[in-house]
Structures are given as structure tokens and as C-alpha cells.
């Protein structure tokens, strides 16, 4: 199934070239979780990152559905 991963600001450095506005599309097997999807990229997976599914706070073990968007950004600063 196709899902999308979006990385914001400095995390974009972890994306392959050719992404559009920090978004890449991935073809992943059924049962792939939020954690599985985001761990394909070289970003911290501890409390230094905020990871949301379709903009919502979820358990990282939540399985993904077709068309889902996983977004991650650094929690190092604030706004």
C-alpha cells in the first residue's frame, strides 16, 4: 500500500533527493506501523522527535492504512 512520510525543517536532510516540500511516497506492506515507516529515515526516535499520524497524536505501534501521512519534526526547540 502507498503511504506518505513528511519530514519538517532540518529533518528534510534525511530524505532522499527529489522529495516535494519534504514529502515522499512509500510502498509498504500491510501491517506496517508508524514506527516502522519513520524508522526508515535517519532521525532520532526518542523524545527529541515529534511523530504524528495524519496530524494526530497516536501510539507509534499503530498500523498504517493506505494513504496515511506520517509526519516528524524535531522537538529540540519550540516555537
Amino acid at each position: 500500500m502507498l503511504i506518505r512520510v513528511k519530514l519538517i525543517a532540518n529533518y528534510r536532510d534525511a530524505l532522499p533527493a527529489g522529495h516535494k516540500h519534504g514529502v515522499v511516497e512509500l510502498d509498504v506492506p500491510e501491517g506496517t506501523t508508524v514506527y516502522d515507516a519513520i524508522s526508515r529515515f535517519d532521525i532520532p526516535l526518542n523524545d527529541e522527535s515529534v511523530i504524528v499520524l495524519n496530524g494526530l497524536t497516536v501510539d507509534l505501534n499503530t498500523p498504517l492504512k493506505e494513504g496515511d501521512m506520517v509526519t516528524a519534526f524535531s522537538a529540540i526547540a519550540g516555537g
Binding site: A9, V50, G55, L56, F73, I76, A77, G78, G79
Partner: protein
């Protein structure tokens, strides 16, 4: 005494009498400094019911005990006064150089009272204090004023001043220091203008003596190293400042768009941090002694919006940008420069124009009244409105009243997105419930700077909190409000403070901040004591509000937030469930069910009962 000078400079602008006063060490300790000292003096000396633009209002510049110490970001001051925008309290924070230079005059706090008979500026060179004519800079913008006053005082001095907006009493006028830094919110610049006070120039060499200089140096260096380690890892703040945030809030569906009619903006990529970095960023530019360095020098090199300056920050992008539906980055950057030069708060300026745009689109305001069409997304009209606001010309006179009064005047108060008549900052609380409670109860009206629980709800700092739930938010908001009162009283910047001088628990705990206060002042605070002092400050501010006529009846949100569900994004369908949080908030504060501090709470905090 250490850390504090325990000295106040008082300038009566009516009589031009200058006095230097000592501060009682017990008051210094109990009220911390900065914002805390200011409310202590205002509550003691001033009738909270006075007209904010009358000579009876006090205008206070206040540094904290950590200002001008080695503490990283010990570079802040607070401007405290009664707000002409809200009728409540204004306490606006700014960094840069000026606050440190001010503290080095040997005074912790400047109090300006009365009203000068003609435009003046005050030049403070330690104990040499002069009230000088400002006739030659009246009408000039903040940059030109700064350059001229440095020439005629001392090139190494620093300037805080108002621009045309403050002179013309725009209710969202800011006080700018070091050209680009703003004590922005609640119309503090209009109060300065009402006193005919164009500028304050400061310099000196009186660094406050430290109780334990070695210990303070070591703790400060270690704290700076922690910041530095994050910067090395690629902290967003050094590269983007806060301009990366639109992508975050857009993802969560809480990016104020078209006067909060929407929570996502389809053109966000045109005006986000990457667009700014790729097109106009020159370099980062720090406040004094800041290892984080979130300020950014930018330039639009050519074209109709040509200019050079600093920013924009997130709050400007979410007000003048998405708030107005504007997606032209060069025009947005220019609008930000203009606000800094005229001395306008970008949040209230942008959101007031946004409210006017909505009224125009709905047919409540005509082209005839405005003088031109004013559609969402019309960046040239937005820039024209900023100019009219600053100079109080034409329709700008109405805009300069802020969105609450503007919408009321034209018969549609439901359009204004304000609490206590102050415009919302850049987090739609329908998708960030804790922010809703914060806006509803803030002593200064809607503001993120009075207990920014978006740190947890949006940014996961120090822990991630679900923004769509209400459970536990009363406790969180109360604790963040007190913690921000502490930071504002200490002289530190929240950006460094929240992450580096509090313990990283959900209920952030000021272990390191208390240690810094002790090494600086020798006051021997426990973390519990500094938080209790901050609660004292917050509660005394609340007492001021009640006497000013901005009490519990104003602890609410505009109809859009309570009754119009977000139409788009992840928080679609949500309104703020304020009634689920407010009673518990009052309880956590030790206030009665109507929102008044109880006698027991006032006694516990050592505050006057009336």
C-alpha cells in the same frame, strides 16, 4: 545584596523630576524581579481603573536578577503597564542588547509616570539622567530614531523607542529596541506615546555583583554547552528561527488561516521557513549572550518589496501571512519590516487586518469605507493598511483600534478573534485545547507568552501532550502560567529557559533556574519557593485585573472558538471545550467557583486581602 542592584530610577515626565530609590530586599525576594517587581509597584501605587492613555498610568521597564549575568539568554526585560488595548495588564518581553545595557546603568527598573508637555527622550548613563527634547525625532521611524539618538548620546549606548504607531496611539503599538526587537503586545508603545516619551537610551558599566561568581559561571557554561550540543545536532532555531513552525501547525491543522476560518493554509510552502531560507536569509543574529541565536537577518534584494531587516518570526507569518491569506513571501517580509519600523505588534496588526478582510468579503465593510478592496490574499492592500494604521489615517484610524473595537463598530463583534480584546497568536485552540484555556484566562489577554502549553501540545517539549484532549489541561496551564511568570521575572528568555533550566517532566520543575537565582542573588530559594513567588506574582496581577474591570467575566473565548467547529484538517469538527477545563482551573488556582482568588489563597501568598 547580589544580582539585583535594588535600585529603581523614577522619572516623572510631567515635572521632569528624576529620583533614585532603594528596593526593600524582602520585596525583591518575594517578587523575584522583572514582571514581579513591576506588578508589586503598580498594585501599590496606581489605581487600576485609570485610563491607560492618561498621565496616571505607570510605564515600567523591568529587568530581572539574571539580566546582565552570565546566564545564557540573561538578556531580557519586561515592559509593564496598563494596556490600552485590553484594559487589563500589559507585560511584554523583549531581548536583544538593550535590557543588558539598561541593567548596567545600575538600576533594575525604570518607572515613567506623568506626561511630558512636549516630545522627550530619557538618556540614562548610570546616575547621569537627562530628559531631553525629542522634537527632532518625533515622526521618525524606529530605525532612524535609533541612529540619530546614538549619534547624539553615545555610539555604544542602546535605544528602546516608539515609531509613528506609538506616537499616533495605535492600540497595537510596540516598543522596539535595538531596531529589530519588540516589546510588542498589548499596546505598550501607545502608552509610551501618550506620555510624549519617544525613546529611552541606556548605557553603563555596573554589572550586578554575583553572590557566587564562580558557581554561576560554571552553571552558565554547562547550560550553554547543553544548548550548544543541540545546535550542533541541527537545532531548527539556529537555521530557521521560529519560521519552520507553520509546517508544524499546518500539519496539526491549527495554523490560523483567513482570520481563523480555517486551520490549514494551502499555500504554506510559499511562506514557510524553507522558502525564507532559500530566498532571503542572510545569516542568524543572536540576542546578547544567547547560544541559541534564533534571530535572522534577511533581505529582499530587489523589486517592489525591496528591503533589509530581521525576521519574520512564526507569529508574523501566522498573522500577516496565513491569517490574511497572504502567500507572497516578499510582500510578507516587507510587511514585517514595516511593522518594525513603524513600531507595530505584528500579531495584532495582522489579525486586525484579517478581521477587516473577513468583514469586507462578507459585505459588512464596503470598498468606500476602506478606500480600496480588501480581499484575503491581497498583499498590496495589506501593506497599505499597515501604513494607514501606523499613521492613523483614513480607515487606518479604525484598524488602529484593534479587531475587537473594529468589529464592534461595524456591527459584527462575532468576527473578532480575541480574548480581553487582544488578538490570538498563531495556535488555533480548537486543535490545541490547553491553549484555549490559556487564552481565556491570561492576565494580558490572548497570548502564547503567558504559559505556552503549545510547548507540550504542539512541540513535544519536554514531553508530548495530546492537543485534542482536555484532561489534565487545567493543572498544566496553571503550572505553565506560573512558570512563565517566573521566567519573565528572572530575566531569561523562554526559548532557552523551558528546555534547559527546568527538569524535563510534564510538570516542568525549575531546579536549575532556582540554582541560577541563588548563585546570582544569594537568596537561598528552593524550587518550591520560586514557583510560589511566581504564583504570588500571577495572583496579584489577577487582583489588578479585577480592579481594572477585566476580571472573571472576561475568562471566555470568542464565539468562533466555542461554537464554530474547525472545518478542515486533523482537528476538523472541534471547538474549544472550555467548560470542561475552566472550573477545574479555578480550583487548581485556589480561586472560588466564580474566578476570584479566595481569602485563604491570598493569605497563603502573603497578598493584600483587598
Amino acid at each position: 545584596m547580589y544580582g539585583w542592584h535594588l535600585k529603581i530610577l523614577r522619572v516623572n515626565l510631567t515635572t521632569r523630576k528624576v529620583t533614585m530609590e532603594d528596593v526593600d530586599p524582602k520585596i525583591a525576594r518575594d517578587y523575584l524581579g522583572g514582571r514581579g517587581w513591576a506588578i508589586y509597584y503598580m498594585y501599590k501605587e496606581m489605581d487600576p481603573a485609570v485610563d491607560p492613555l492618561s498621565p496616571e498610568n505607570m510605564l515600567i521597564f523591568a529587568t530581572g536578577p539574571l539580566t546582565a549575568t552570565p546566564a545564557p539568554t540573561g538578556n531580557r526585560y519586561m515592559v509593564v503597564t496598563k494596556s490600552p488595548l485590553t484594559g487589563a495588564l500589559a507585560h511584554s518581553n523583549s531581548g536583544g542588547d538593550f535590557p543588558t545595557w539598561m541593567k548596567r546603568t545600575g538600576f533594575d527598573m525604570f518607572i515613567f509616570e506623568g506626561k511630558a508637555s512636549e516630545p522627550v527622550y530619557v538618556w540614562v548613563n548610570e546616575e547621569q539622567v537627562e530628559v531631553r527634547s525629542a522634537a527632532h525625532v518625533w515622526g521618525k521611524d524606529t530605525h532612524e530614531t535609533t541612529d540619530i539618538l546614538l549619534t547624539e548620546t553615545h555610539p555604544e549606548a542602546r535605544v528602546a523607542c516608539i515609531g509613528p504607531a506609538g506616537e499616533n496611539l495605535a492600540l497595537m503599538a510596540a516598543i522596539m529596541n535595538d531596531k529589530h526587537r519588540a516589546a510588542a503586545r498589548s499596546g505598550v508603545g501607545a502608552v509610551m506615546g501618550s506620555k510624549n516619551l519617544k525613546a529611552v537610551v541606556a548605557m553603563g558599566s555596573k554589572n550586578p555583583p554575583l553572590y557566587n561568581p564562580e558557581g554561576m559561571r560554571e552553571l552558565s557554561v554547562n547550560t550553554s554547552k547543553n544548548v550548544g550540543a543541540d545546535v550542533k545536532k541541527g537545532s531548527n532555531m539556529r537555521i530557521y528561527g521560529t519560521s519552520y513552525v507553520p509546517q508544524v501547525t499546518n500539519t496539526l491543522g491549527i495554523l490560523p488561516t483567513r482570520n481563523f476560518l480555517q486551520g490549514t493554509f494551502e499555500h504554506v510552502h510559499n511562506i514557510d521557513g524553507d522558502a525564507l531560507k532559500d530566498n532571503y536569509l542572510i545569516r542568524h543574529t543572536p540576542c546578547y549572550r544567547c547560544p541559541l541565536s534564533c534571530g535572522r537577518l534577511t533581505e529582499v534584494p530587489e523589486g517592489p518589496y525591496k528591503g533589509k531587516g530581521e525576521g519574520p518570526e512564526y507569529e508574523t507569518i501566522s498573522s500577516l501571512g496565513t491569517g490574511c491569506g497572504v502567500s507572497n513571501l516578499a510582500a510578507l517580509v516587507k510587511a514585517n519590516y514595516l511593522c518594525n519600523e513603524y513600531g507595530l505588534d505584528t500579531i495584532s496588526t495582522g489579525m486586525t487586518i484579517a478581521a477587516a478582510m473577513e468583514m469586507y468579503e462578507k459585505g459588512y465593510l464596503s470598498e468606500e469605507v476602506i478606500g480600496m478592496p480588501l480581499r484575503f490574499g491581497d498583499h498590496d492592500a495589506m501593506i497599505e493598511m499597515i501604513k494607514l494604521m501606523a499613521y492613523g489615517k483614513g480607515f487606518g484610524k479604525d484598524l488602529a483600534l484593534g479587531s475587537y473595537r473594529l468589529c464592534e463598530k461595524y456591527g459584527h463583534p462575532e468576527i473578532a478573534v480575541t480574548t480581553r480584546k487582544q488578538e490570538f497568536p498563531g495556535y488555533d485552540p480548537r486543535g490545541s485545547q490547553g491553549m484555549g484555556l490559556l487564552y481565556a484566562t491570561s492576565n494580558k489577554g490572548a497570548s502564547h507568552m503567558e504559559g505556552d502549553v503549545a510547548y507540550e501540545e504542539v512541540f513535544g517539549v519536554p514531553v508530548k501532550e495530546n492537543p485534542l484532549t482536555t484532561e489534565g489541561k487545567a493543572e498544566l496551564v496553571k503550572h505553565f502560567q506560573d512558570s512563565f511568570a517566573l521566567i519573565d521575572s528572572s530575566g531569561l528568555c523562554v526559548f532557552v529557559a523551558i528546555r534547559y533550566v527546568f527538569d524535563k517532566t510534564r510538570i516542568i520543575w525549575p531546579q536549575t533556574l532556582a540554582a541560577m537565582m541563588n548563585l546570582t542573588t544569594g537568596a537561598g530559594y528552593t524550587p518550591e519557593e520560586v514557583l510560589k513567588a511566581a504564583e504570588r506574582v500571577y495572583t496579584l496581577e489577577r487582583m489588578f485585573l479585577i480592579k481594572a474591570g477585566s476580571g472573571p467575566e472576561w475568562d471566555t473565548l470568542p464565539p468562533r472558538m466555542l461554537h464554530e467547529p474547525l472545518p478542515d484538517g486533523p482537528a476538523k469538527g472541534k471547538v474549544v471545550e472550555l467548560d470542561k477545563m475552566l472550573p477545574e482551573f479555578y480550583q487548581k488556582r485556589g480561586w472560588d467557583e466564580k474566578g476570584y482568588p479566595t481569602k485563604e489563597k491570598l493569605m497563603e501568598l502573603g497578598l493584600p486581602l483587598a
